[in-house]
């Protein structure tokens, strides 16, 4: 199916098959002296997408390329500082990277204000699925809706993430191995290994630093009872193969948030939008349609 803005052609005498130009455009915004890379496609209601720990906005390539969504939504995915093509802050070499609730929510709201996004929908996965709960508490009036992918209020330390940042362990291979296991065996090989590849490209200590928020500082269990979904609707979508934020973990959080709408995504794992974009879009499109109306 040819989507609006999708350009394809073939180049005679080259064995590439069909060449396809995606509608996604990337650029940089400088925020707090840090170069932040973001990509966007589409027009309409802003849909800000938050990538997972140790990865980057490429995870949302399926959403950014979906003509049905970009018809009504301006889809934007930014790379957090230290991740993807965004810079780390000056002096990064002198410190250990650690994500906290305050710095995460702060950067999201700073980005929204910098791009003057009006009442965006914010969708986040994993650490992003956690931070939408904090956004629900602190910024409900500024947001149109929140979508948590693989949301849990807390994950205990069941393995030592320090091994992912050890000079005698190849960080890329180890981070990739961890990400590999979180995905569903039913997701397509190509998309699973693309997702692994992103993890293998992460900088030293970044995945570990994000997990500090996920497994230690970002415990939000004590606060989620106060979320008011009548001000800002909250949708929770969780892939059934995720064992880090399982459907049971999401249900436990949803049970304490009045009005939260939860859906289990059958056959999907921890990176639904990246490991199986096509299947994930089937779950996301009706949610976005409901938000739009």
């Amino acid at each position: 199916m040819r989507a609006t803005g999708e350009k394809t052609w073939s180049v005679p005498d080259y064995p590439w098959g069909i060449v396809k130009l995606e509608p996604i455009v990337g650029r940089y915004v400088q925020l707090n002296d840090c170069r932040i890379y973001f990509e966007e496609a589409g027009q309409g209601i802003p849909l800000l997408c938050l990538h997972t720990a140790g990865s980057d906005g490429r995870q949302y390539r399926g959403v950014l390329n979906d003509a049905q969504i970009t018809k009504n939504y301006r889809v934007i995915a930014f790379d957090m500082p230290w991740h993807g093509k965004s810079s780390p802050p000056a002096g990064w070499q002198n410190e250990d990277y650690r994500l906290t609730t305050g710095s995460y929510t702060g950067m999201i709201m700073d980005f929204i204000k910098a791009l003057a996004l009006e009442r965006p929908v914010v969708m986040g996965c994993s650490i992003g699925g956690r931070i939408v709960l904090d956004l629900a508490l602190k910024h409900a009036r500024e947001l149109r809706a929140l979508v948590g992918l693989q949301t849990g209020a807390f994950v205990e330390r069941y393995y030592d993430a320090a091994w992912l940042d050890h000079p005698e362990v190849h960080g890329g291979r180890a981070c990739g191995a961890v990400a590999y296991g979180l995905m569903s065996p039913l997701s397509p090989e190509k998309e699973r290994w693309e997702t692994v590849w992103h993890y293998m490209q992460g900088g030293p200590g970044i995945f570990t630093g994000d997990l500090y928020f996920y497994q230690v500082e970002g415990d939000i269990r004590g606060r989620i009872g106060a979320i008011d979904t009548s001000v800002c609707p909250l949708y929770l979508l969780t892939g059934e193969y995720d064992y880090s934020a399982s459907p049971r973990d999401t249900e436990a959080a949803a049970a304490r948030i009045k009005g939260a709408k939860m859906t289990v995504m059958k056959g999907l794992g921890h990176f639904p939008m990246s490991e199986n974009p096509e299947a994930f879009l089937g779950y996301l499109r009706p949610v976005l349609e409901e938000i739009r109306k």
Partner: protein, 118 residues
């Protein structure tokens, strides 16, 4: 299942390549049965079945027979598809040199999952 691992793994360069540089012996425990796997540069050189007397291994991975059987289903059920899923529930235990395990984690995962395609 473990006995046939050498044949399954060594014929598959897609698995062997992730074990390049690994020259170690590690132990897999299936219920009350222990196996020692000797790896040389990503190839399984030897699989020995216990019981053993005073053998050295670099790291060990222990789980019940029932757990491994669920893990080895062609398409495992959610929660039985990855070592770390088992770890979170306490259904598998890792012992010994964790650095070597983590350094070769992807290789070890692919090796242990190979019986699904037997």
């Amino acid at each position: 299942m473990i006995e046939g691992l050498a044949q399954l793994v060594n014929r598959d360069p897609a698995i062997v390549r992730w074990g390049r540089g690994m020259n170690e012996t590690f132990m897999i425990e299936v219920g009350d049965r222990q196996y020692l796997l000797r790896i040389e540069n990503g190839l399984i050189q030897k699989v020995e079945k216990g019981p053993f007397v005073m053998r050295t291994w670099r790291f060990a991975i222990r789980a019940s027979r029932e757990c491994w059987e669920k893990f080895w289903q062609k398409t495992p059920a959610p929660g039985w598809h990855d070592l770390f899923a088992l770890l979170r529930r306490g259904d598998v235990k890792f012992e010994g040199d964790q650095r070597v395990l983590m350094a070769y984690l992807l290789y070890v995962k692919l090796v242990l999952a190979a019986p699904r395609n037997a």
